[in-house]
């Protein structure tokens, strides 16, 4: 059996390439990475009408074959057959935005000149019509010398036609054709593109009325900023209010499983392991799935509508003050969900110094993994009362924690730009795409992929660390009647005892020391670790204590200054192996991740200490 044919989707950013990819492949997608670089590789399987099933790859959007960033380099290398880990495509599907032909055709001409079998997808023809453009696809095909298929990816229009054209192209590729890159005069290509575009346009009216009308508000210096802040406020409110019902459902399900296991099994090591180890540990993390999905829903919506670039535009002025570009806003905002995709998103920042600074401060954005820790501690220690005007104290504290992260990041950026990442351009050039309604399928697919990644983490890293931790916390058992606390006597308790002297001056106790070790794997594990630690400790006690929630257990044992110091630690601490690993990959070495760990740990230690002693001095 021979390898199936490979077709590459290629085109400008904002041509609707990913929507077309999703429409063609549906859920038959595989996300991965190109070896050696952290550019996401999106592969899918596409069954054609003639019975063969081909591979289709969605290449990063780029404006030309002269790369300006690592993503764009991958696109060029794949098309020229030079990308390690990817075979030369047998055919290209060039995706162009029907409403922006004179720009997108220049790149299309550059690609057609390579000589690979090619079909052009004239995408988003519906939006072009909305913008008052009428196009002649037949004329365009004649001028370009390749088939042209009008498509509306989100409505699956033109896909049958596109598949038919692709299968017609493939037999001719039985003998592999190598792309012939040639030096082409940029200005000449541009003129040719404009000439062809004008001939293809049957009629047109002034462009982009809808987008222009929205931008009058969205890009307004005052109204636009108010809108942006409003959106962010709604987003963080929703993370809490919308998640109440699904959260209760997940918690209910977990409690039912726990009761079921406890009832079904006799009192044994296995039962302890399942109930205290796995269900308490992994369960404590899984309950945050609804909140993480809500956050990603907003980020995917903001990206899908085209608003995210407007946010970058509005923020550029402020970002410039700390030596960053407005482009850094998108990676930093994504870092509120998780620093890993955030750091990967810095690939769109062309300037290396800008990019490095953004990577180094990304972990300061409050990622969703910190949310479990924050909500647990706030729930346990901050009274649920209002401070006037209907503002809840708990929500206010949470907001302040986010602000602390942002302020910390800006101060860090300022300091870094004046020291280790001095110099560099700090430019800001980006396209503001037209607004569009994101399609349910694209958002749902994105959320599904995030959920799978999160649950895989819960099922692998978090599961393993929980199991190891449970063993370390449970053994060795103190001798019967010795009066030792089982936690302190256990292996974990002894390890924690070693680092406790370092943490004691900033108000941390043994259990925190125990929780911080596995939190290096993933922050949210701290919650699981505390849950496991206290549930083992209380298991020997009376029934009422076992029934207590983790939050009740904490509020009974920690002082308020300790709880606040713990929160302050989590604002700054770099403790997440995934973030460090992605930083190493993105910066090609251990130098910058090491620097990041050191500067963030020192900052976290100082912040926690300052918080603890201030709170203690205030008599809290």
């Amino acid at each position: 059996m021979s390898i199936s044919s490979l077709v590459a989707l290629v085109g400008n950013p904002n041509a609707g390439k990913s929507a077309l990819f999703n429409a063609l492949t549906g859920a038959r997608q595989k996300l991965g990475n190109y070896p050696g670089v952290t550019v996401e590789r999106k592969m899918g399987r596409l069954p054609l009408d003639d019975g063969q099933v081909i591979d289709i790859v969605d290449l990063p959007g780029t404006y030309s074959l002269a790369p300006n960033s690592p993503d764009e380099e991958v696109t060029r290398n794949v098309i020229l057959g030079r990308q390690p880990g990817e075979r030369l495509p047998d055919a290209l599907v060039i995706v162009v935005d029907a409403a922006n032909l004179d720009n997108h055709l220049r790149f299309a001409l550059e690609l057609i000149a390579l000589g690979l079998p090619t079909v052009v997808a004239l995408n988003m023809v519906d939006l072009a019509t909305r913008d008052g453009l009428e196009l002649d696809a037949v004329r365009l095909a004649a001028d370009l010398g390749v088939p042209v298929v009008p498509t509306v990816a989100v409505r699956k229009r033109g896909l049958d036609h596109l598949r038919a054209e692709v299968s017609r192209l493939l037999p001719s590729a039985a003998v592999p054709i190598r792309a012939r890159p040639q030096e082409q005069d940029f200005a000449a290509l541009q003129r040719e593109a404009q000439r062809i575009a004008r001939r293809a346009i049957v009629s047109e009216s002034p462009s982009r009325r809808l987008t222009g009308a929205i931008d009058k508000v969205a890009l307004h210096p005052v109204l636009g900023l108010a809108l942006l802040l409003g959106l962010l406020f709604v987003m963080f409110q929703a993370v809490f209010s919308w998640s109440e019902v699904p959260l209760a459902l997940v918690e209910g399900a977990l409690a039912a499983v726990e009761d079921g296991v406890a009832a079904a099994l006799p009192d044994s090591v296995l039962r302890d392991f399942l109930v205290q180890g796995i269900i308490a540990g992994v369960g404590a993390v899984i309950v945050f799935l609804p909140q993480i999905l809500i956050l990603f829903f907003f980020i995917l919506m903001l990206e899908g509508t085209g608003y995210m670039t407007r946010a970058a535009f509005l923020m550029d002025g402020i970002m410039a003050r700390v030596g960053l570009s407005g482009r850094a806003f998108i990676p930093l905002l994504s870092s509120f969900a998780c620093a890993v995709p955030g750091i990967m998103a810095t690939r769109t920042i062309a300037d290396p110094k800008d990019r490095l600074t953004t990577i180094l401060i990304a972990p300061l954005m409050t990622c969703s993994a910190r949310l479990p820790v924050y909500t647990l501690i706030i729930g346990a220690f901050i009274p649920a009362r209002t401070v006037g005007w209907g503002i809840g104290l708990q929500g206010l504290v949470l907001f302040l924690l986010y602000v602390a992260g942002i302020v910390g990041a800006f101060v860090a950026a300022l300091a870094l730009r004046r020291s280790v990442t001095k110099g560099g351009g700090g430019g800001f050039l980006m396209e503001l795409p037209k607004y569009q309604m994101p399609f349910v399928r694209d958002i749902a697919l994105g959320l599904w992929q995030r959920a799978v990644i999160f649950l895989k983490r819960a099922g692998s890293i978090i599961f393993v660390t929980t199991v190891i931790l449970w063993v370390l916390l449970s053994y060795p058992k103190p001798p019967e009647g010795s009066g030792y606390s089982p936690i302190k006597y256990s292996a974990a308790g002894r390890i924690a005892g070693l680092i406790e002297p370092v943490l004691e001056p900033i108000g941390f106790n043994d259990e925190i020391a125990i929780a911080l070790i596995p939190a290096i794997a993933a922050r949210e594990v701290a919650v699981a670790a505390l849950a496991t630690a206290y549930s083992i400790e209380d298991a020997g006690g009376d029934e009422a204590k076992v029934e207590q929630s983790l939050s009740d257990r904490l509020s009974g044992r920690w002082s308020l200054p300790t709880a606040l110091a713990f929160l302050a630690w989590f604002v700054f601490a770099p403790q997440c192996i995934s973030t460090i690993a992605v930083t190493r990959r993105e910066t090609n070495g251990w130098k910058w991740p090491t620097f990041m760990i050191v500067y963030l740990t020192v900052t976290a230690y100082i912040a926690a200490g300052a918080t603890f002693w201030t709170a203690t001095a205030l008599g809290l």
Binding site: N100, L101, Q190, R195, S207, D215, D316, F428, L429, E431
Partner: protein, 105 residues
């Protein structure tokens, strides 16, 4: 007139771009956006509430954002705009000097 000083909403044409005031890759990106001598351009928004912010401009059928510093490297004139056909996209300009000198690097 420099693009950053152009009144909002008045269509203009690019006369001359000082490519030396930006890095080669920034120059390349601007050209890829369709900003070249002879292109029709219109200033749409100024972003800076806190000063020094970006500006948004329409070039052809695209809207692009750039810093005021880059906008000030773009010399524009409005005279040609008055006689030009309303609503057309980028005008090809045969006498435009080749910008390829800035492409090398």
């Amino acid at each position: 007139m420099r693009l950053d000083k152009l009144p909002q909403g008045r269509p203009a044409y690019v006369d001359r771009i000082d490519w030396t005031r930006m890095s080669p890759s920034e120059g390349q990106r601007l050209r890829e956006f369709g900003v070249c001598e002879g292109a029709s351009i219109e200033l749409l928004h100024r972003g800076g509430l806190f000063g020094g912010g970006a500006v948004a401009a329409r070039v052809g059928r695209m809207t692009i954002a750039m810093r005021a510093g880059h906008a000030s490297a773009i010399e524009v004139s409005t005279e040609a705009a008055a006689s030009a056909v309303r609503g057309t996209s980028v005008q090809a300009s045969s006498q435009a000097p080749s910008p390829d000198s800035a492409l090398t690097a």
